[in-house]
């Protein structure tokens, strides 16, 4: 056996090892999707197509929520373009209605009726009104939010946009895209903006 054939056989050994490794690699998102299509079923409004990932969900899955800064910036710009701001130019609704929306996490599950009681489930993940002791900690505290962010036009527009599509500001954020996904209406989002920014809202007391 000359040195060339040894190199060749070493090369094929390496190729064989690589093939074995690939066979044991973690399932790709497309393979997971195929499993979900086989092992899940539509129920109520939760259609089976919900397991299909869009670009954001795919990239955040494969990058373990750490995409490259360049790609994240490009896609955040795409997400920002999905935001439809109110035609009347007003961002602030009624904080009392906002409080109800912040307190319920109902909506979009297979048990919920489309168009029925729904909310943003804000308290599941955030502290809001300091007087409400039952709050989650998946997201940051938003207590006294107006003090931190101000209450002007820019602050209102930012909060509206963040609620509409959180992925426009932080691509792999765990916060849902309430406007883009059709979970909250324009009026709902306005009411939540008021809950966060109105100086008379309990969030700012």
């Amino acid at each position: 056996m000359n040195s060339k054939s040894i190199r060749l056989s070493l090369g094929s050994l390496a190729a064989a090892l690589l093939a074995v490794q690939l066979a044991h690699a973690d399932p790709t998102p497309l393979e997971v999707r195929a499993v979900l299509h086989r092992d899940f079923h539509s129920r109520g409004q939760a259609n089976l197509s919900r397991v299909d990932q869009d670009d954001v969900q795919w990239l955040c899955t494969v990058s373990h929520n750490k995409p490259s800064a360049k790609r994240a910036k490009e896609m955040e710009a795409e997400q920002l373009a999905t935001i439809r701001y109110p035609a009347d130019g007003k961002f602030m609704g009624n904080w009392k209605k906002g409080e109800k929306l912040a307190s319920t996490g109902k909506g979009m599950t297979w048990k919920d009726k489309p168009g029925g009681t729904h909310g943003g489930g804000c308290y599941n993940c955030h502290q809001l009104a300091p007087s409400q002791p039952s709050y989650g900690t998946i997201g940051p505290s938003l207590a006294h939010f107006a003090k931190l962010r101000g209450t002007g036009h820019d602050a209102q527009k930012y909060v509206y946009g963040k609620l509409y599509n959180a992925k426009a500001y932080n691509l792999c954020s765990e916060m849902p895209r309430f406007g883009t996904s059709g979970s909250l209406t324009e009026q709902d989002i306005k009411d939540l903006v008021a809950y966060l920014l109105d100086p008379t809202s309990p969030v700012n007391k």
């Binding site: 973690d26 997971v32 939760a46 299909d52 297979w110 989650g136 059709g182």
Partner: protein, 269 residues
């Protein structure tokens, strides 16, 4: 029933106390105390006894009991079986968790159709399901046994890897994966602490107490139910009962819990 009602009253008292007192560490201590007290008065044993009775009853078109059911330790062996599940079964050529394996035994031994065996797997407070009784009984037979779930068989390894991928797969209306809630330490939803199921510590503490009796709704819930209701809250479509995807997620959590002593069925808030 007295015990259940007592626990509910106690729960309300502790919650009232929690709302009145300073938050943070104080509340965590109170919740821990509440959990200890409820566990001491847990009606889990009622499910275990009813489950044992069902296990021995001659049922189905074939009029036989489940006493020859092979849960992986040999026909009829229940001792320690749950601490070794999910596992690969040669006769079905798939990895199965306790519940999908019980369905296999109900169909092959007792002669039920799969449809009959899975018709009512999730019960309610008025009427628990046969599956809940059986799962409580079989799981109780692993109390004190060390979790030792194998990934030696290639199908077991593939199931674990699929489970890990499913755990991190983001999709649905709200872009959630399992890891959205169960991937970072120290998080909670409202007042409910969230175990990190991708970590050894989190999986060990949680997996070893399921199935679990829920004081808040007086029901004993199985792991298949737990996964089903997580996917509902994830805004996903519904998983098929006992499907490979649900078994893979169970496999992922069970293997992460390996080495811990099984101490269920547990008692939950």
């Amino acid at each position: 029933m007295l015990t259940i009602r007592g626990a509910t009253v106690l729960g309300a008292a502790v919650l009232a106390l929690a709302t009145a007192s300073a938050f943070g560490e104080n509340v965590r201590q109170e919740i821990k105390k509440y959990q200890r007290m409820t566990a001491e008065n847990s009606p889990v044993e009622l499910w275990v006894l009813q489950g044992e009775d069902l296990w021995r009853q001659k049922r189905g078109p074939n009029h036989v009991s489940l006493e020859r059911c092979d849960l992986g330790m040999g026909p009829g062996v229940t001792k320690g079986a749950y601490a070794h599940l999910p596992r690969y079964f040669k006769d079905t050529d798939r990895v199965q968790d306790l519940e999908s394996r019980l369905v296999t035994c109900m169909t092959t031994l007792q002669g039920f159709s799969e449809k009959e065996a899975t018709k009512r797997v999730f019960g309610n407070a008025d009427k628990p399901s046969d599956m809940e009784y059986l799962a409580a009984y079989v799981a109780s037979r692993s109390r004190g046994v060390r979790m030792q779930v194998s990934t030696k068989n290639p199908k077991e390894k593939a199931s674990y890897e699929l489970g890990r991928a499913l755990f991190h797969y983001r999709a649905g209306s709200w872009d959630f994966s399992c890891a959205s809630c169960h991937g970072t330490p120290g998080k909670r939803i409202r007042m409910q602490a969230l175990p990190v199921l991708s970590s050894k510590a989190g999986a060990r503490g949680t997996y070893t107490t399921w199935p679990g009796y829920r004081v808040s709704n007086s029901q004993l819930k199985t792991m298949q139910w737990r996964i089903n209701d997580c996917f509902r809250q994830q805004r996903f479509p519904e998983p098929n009962y006992g499907s490979d995807a649900t078994v893979a997620l169970t496999m992922y959590m069970a293997v992460n819990a390996n080495g811990a002593i099984y101490r269920g069925p547990g008692t939950k808030r």
